[in-house]
Amino acid sequence: MTANHPTKSIGEGLLEDFPILNIEVHPGIRLTYLDSAATSQKPLQVIEAMDDYYRSTNANIHRGVHALAEKATAQYEDARKKVADFIGSEKVEEVIFTRNTTESINLVANAWGRANLNNGDLVVLTEMEHHSNLVPWQMLAAEKSLRLEFIEVTPEGELNLDSYKKLLDQNPKVVAFTQMSNVLGTINPAREIISMAKQVGAMTLMDAAQSVPHLPVNVAEIDADFVAFSGHKMLGPTGIGVLWGKLEMLSAMPPFLGGGDMIKKVYLRSFTANDLPHKFEAGTPAIAEAIGLGAAVDYLNLIGMETIARHEQEITAYAIDQLSKIPGLTILGPQADKKGAVLAFTLDGVHPHDVAQILDSAGIAVRAGHHCAMPLHDKYNIPASTRASFYLYNTRKDVDVLVSGIETVKKYFG
């Protein structure tokens, strides 16, 4: 296995780079991993980059003058540059490392929100948000008496832009939305949503947790004020996420967490904040994880995001086609051309937990539950759903295994 040269043929050709995809999860039963929307698997290149850091360059970053500290700092900052290039950010200091998407959104809600929002201000979200782009605003709304309103989701699983226009008439201060739903798979018209928000002067935040790993995303083109995503859904490790923000927004914001590294000078009773991006990175950051994320970005670049998006589109269309043939199975969300590689479904008469349990016995990893989107499930009047999600390493064969797994479920409950 040559870790430094991933095979470029997508799908099955990548399997040798992902050791976990070749394991047997139950005796004699190979893993079929269809849960990448929860977290992706990691290629050897990422695992080895982190391993190598701990074996040969581990040191705390910034301010150290010894050789290892310099190397570790350079690797950490190099990872930031890779992420900046990956999402089309010209200014590397616009990339803030956080723990994950959730922390990135909390950072904005707390630092920007506390400084800029007041009693009665309107925050517009959508009915398809993950709890991570819902709860931070609910918490802030309770504290500052803000109003929350929601762009409606149509029965087909798309945003109702007419309902959005009506909300814009009320001059919201914030429009925060997901670029791609983690349940419906819907890819929302981000540029349109943002340009409409700008006409009323609203701050815009885009939850890109599901989009950045799967689609080419260029922050300069999309033109949101903030974009949040996680490393672990894009082949990187857990514990590292990104908040991208426009320089003028980040500069004008007060810090979020206080402590080491985020300061320039500290006196007994006061401090001055550090320059960007360090102002928002208090304490020792996730250094190995940032380096791992950098390696993940390298890997994604080697395959190419256009290629990945095309591959997933093809698998998703095939999966929709195959699953639609199963009587009693209902797929949530829009058709393949408006959808990312996420397929949530219900099966008449069978609870998603039972579906997932029986699929697991065939080595198939799917998710069952509300996928951190309880209000969306309420909207569709279902308690839960089963979700299969795909990534660059999945193949049509995986879809076939899923279909035969669902047949087995039906046999039990038929």
């Binding site: 609870h351 937990h353 029986i358 016995s361 539950g369 308690p383």
Partner: protein, 135 residues
């Protein structure tokens, strides 16, 4: 899989004998498993001697939690509330006749947790009761 989804579990899930709300009732309690969203309500009719005469459950959930509710209610008809307070995790697993991992154990024990909370008259938080049930 055949061990987990025994015929009796599938049968009770599809054709429960004690499904339904009782109105009026002497005891009613509902709760959910926030992890999976399973939601169950249990209604009981109790006579002057504290004996359960009728029982019904409603709500939604997986085969394990629904079958557990149905089998549990069947087993408590004719029992006293004092006896219900003594029911344990093992009693439920005996009814189901299966072994369960930690995640699905919560599904199986949700009905017992609710039943006990109802019988105890909500004197204790249901989370404490769950711990008691799982111990």
């Amino acid at each position: 899989m055949d061990d987990l989804y025994r015929e009796v579990i599938i049968e009770r899930y599809k054709n429960p004998l004690y499904r339904g709300e009782l109105d009026p009732h002497d005891i009613s309690f509902e709760d959910e498993n926030p992890l999976c969203g399973d939601h169950i309500r249990i209604d009981l009719r109790v006579d002057d001697q504290g004996i359960i005469r009728e029982a019904g459950f409603s709500g939604h959930g997986c085969a394990i939690s629904q079958a557990s509710a149905d089998l549990l209610l069947e087993s408590v008809i004719g029992k006293s509330t004092a006896e219900i307070k003594k029911l344990t995790k093992e009693d439920v697993l005996d009814l189901l006749g299966i072994e369960l991992g930690p995640v699905r154990l919560k599904c199986a024990l949700l009905p017992l947790k609710i039943l006990k909370a109802g019988v105890y008259g909500l004197g204790e938080s249901s989370d404490d009761l769950l711990e008691k049930v799982e111990d």
